[in-house]
Amino acid sequence: MLRKKVSRDVEIPTSSMADISFLLLLFFLVTTTIDVDTGIGLTLPPPVDEAEQVKIKSENILKILVNAAGDVLLDEELTSVPQINEIVKNKLKANDKLVLSVKVDRDTPYRIYIATLDQVKQSYADLREEASLEKFGVPLDQLTREQLQEIRDQVPQRISLAEPEKTR
């Protein structure tokens, strides 16, 4: 007896493919952290015994001393942290070779140190903004990469972290 051959359609079901990839997608969606780290960037000086000490004329150094209570001694004058920006800006305008030296007490809270650095960075940012408006006529955030570099070269950030004193 001859059996009639049944032709079967052989196919892998792909309808659940979307579901599977959805699952994977959800997993990566959940584990991804989009938030970016923000902060104040700085480059530390190399260790002392290797680096040659660079001599800077004393009139080109602006000392910023901060004590534990948050009082600021800026160039032998007593001020407070929120005023640093204005004073530093004026001094930088008067002398563009100025190096800012930040020195803090061991007992100074970190919060005040960050506020001080923020003020200093702020005055550099303001100066760059001014330079940008003067040179290219547009604010800093509208410059091209090359123009931005030019402004950065023109107003370089010179922040020096003072060497800690040996206590013992």
């Binding site: 959805f22 991804t32 919060r111």
Partner: protein, 138 residues
Amino acid sequence: MSKFKKKQAATKQNIPTASLPDIIFMLLIFFMVSTVLREFDVKVKYTLPSAVQIEKIDNKRLTSYIWVGNDGRVQIDDNLVLIPEIQTIAGIKRQQVPNVIMSLRIDEGSKMGIVTDIQQQLRKGDALRINYSALQSL
């Protein structure tokens, strides 16, 4: 028999779903590429200070974190460490990733003494690029 017969299209109306997996796969691949899986179990409590002039760290793969809690404990990666050990760890990190950025996540109430000590250790370990982690203040 009514004169007005409802007009109906002769064709079946189906949204083609054949390309759905492809679309999902594209999304999937985007998230797979942008995900950095390494997450740390932070053992110290800290509140970050806030500042105006902050910048973004673009590359998460370059960053290494140092946490300093409000009780003065220091954590690197998943371990609590002592200050003198930081130099060695920084040296190792620097070998693994030559342009490593050390992101310092320090409690805003910490004393500067401990921060200075960590910085001295980082200098000896030759990890000189640092970033004081801070939030955007309004």
